[in-house]
Amino acid sequence: MAEDGYNFAYLDEQTKRMIRRAILKAVAIPGYQVPFGSREMPLPYGWGTGGIQVTASIIGRDDTLKVIDQGADDTVNAVSIRKFFARTAGVGTTERTEDATILQTRHRIPETPLGPGQILVYQVPIPEPLRWLEPREAETRKMHALEEYGVMHVRLYEDIARFGHIATSYDYPVRVNGRYLMRPSPIPKFDNPKMDRSPALQLFGAGREKRIYAIPPHTGVRSLDFDDHPFEVQKWEDVCALCGSGESFLDEIVTDDRGGRMFVCSDTDYCGRRREAGHTGPATRDPEGSGA
């Protein structure tokens, strides 16, 4: 049951209508940041208020919600947000990616591919991809209007000149449907290819910055690159210590203060399900070892 004294999913109906209208415009103009009258939420700004407002405006009783932070269902902030919706909307929750109709995420896209009909809601801290290059909103809005994205290419190229590589490893800028430059939120660039032509609907909510944007299903999302420096994702020499996956994004765990470390999947659902299916990794094969 929903918490007494508050509307279903916390937001009042007028606020939901305002956000719903903004979401529809966002879907109609892929990658464009729609300003919206972001409300003050009972959670701090920067902790997912944009994603929460988007989720609260779309969620219904029949939905099944999954919430992840850093790919994991059990990080404290994910637990807190999931509980917020269980309390205020009384909806079912799940940790299984394919069982969720709505997935709210901070910083990751699940390893299990999303399917048609699913909606991925991203929590976005800074929506403007040009913000570090131009702090003024009045200016960046003009740059988007005129499709003036040369500065971003220059910045990436300066990285190449200096380091030999593009030195952006997360929140890596993309072009959506060949038009708007978009910030994918601080997901690792490892996840960028998952956005491209995904059959799921992707919605982005930035509460403090008061912007909503979207990628409709089957929409081209191209990570910026150069002919001689094509976009590439991170690779690890290690595999997951628990499930042995060599394909997932790995978190590094420091096991002692003598340089010992191990790597485990950041996506806890993916990793747990692989282990259930019988996969093992260096640490699970050798109960005594640290996996190093």
Partner: protein, 369 residues
Amino acid sequence: MYVAVKGGEKAIEASHRLLDSARRGDPGVPELSTRQIAEQLGLAVDRVMAEGSLHDRELAALAIKQAQGDLIEAVFLLRAYRTTLPRLGNSEPVDTGRMAIRRRISATFKDLPGGQILGPTYDYTHRLLDFRLADEGGSRDRNPAPEAERGPAAEEPVPRVVDILGREGLIEEESAPETGGAPPADITREPLRFPADRDARLQALARGDEGFLLALGYSTQRGFSNNHPFAGEIRYGAVAVEIVPEELGFAIEIGEIEVTEVQMVNQFTGNARTPPQFTRGYGLVFGHQERKAMSMALVDRALRCAELDEAPASPAQDEEFVLYHSDNVEASGFVQHLKLPHYVDFQSELELLRKLRAEFEDPPAEAAE
């Protein structure tokens, strides 16, 4: 073997219990009532109401109690409650010319109609700790406030200093918006746009962080966009709030609120079209908050640079900088979100840095040429 951190929910519940106990402190000491806070920490209540954009002393006192006196946390609590309230209508503009004045001073005229009324102020206290207050009941045997100093006996309107200057045409004219015109901006419903109109700017400043505005206002006095301010008038007291119900068609009073209003008289301008005249900076906040209202008036004037053909050169004149960073609930949330896990992004950076480092120490063949 490594076990993923589980039990987030239990950890959160335990943390809430610890917080409750920290808030209560020593149970041997009597618990504070919200009434005590509202009565005896009134200036804290004023600040929380102003920055929380909600005039309700009891709720503000409750928020202060719940937040253990952390005023920014209390502002946040009040804002999160405010956002769930229905909007029933807009009030008529309050008329500060008809304020029931408790304090009123002008730094520009020695005497003026209505007089200088010192009222309750810390201004001329010597900042010596008063150890009598340390004893419970220590304030009991104080002298009661003299009747005659509580405010003007008559309900006579006290003219505003700027209106006196205005009669001579020496200060730029500002007219009240017409009744029934477009309602003023509300940045809690519509996001800010740039360039922002003055109503949106004033709203942002009125609910902006006092410390931030104080520092910005101060910076204008030290040469980062000096605009030669004079404190034309500072007045504090109660004003009537009126609404016009649709079914009645005329204004009725629904209550009174206390506000502090500051009118700064600033550097004059003029050109071929307009005669030389003083310009204005305006501050208005809930309750008795002169420091905040004066800072607001200084920053308001600085932000009017474009309108007054002044080249913006200083932080206080940069409206995006000022308005995007003045909200302490937004700022506090985003600064503190750095506490949230960033394992994934950090891992991405670590991986990249290790790669760059390896190449630095053992350059690839092509780079060595």
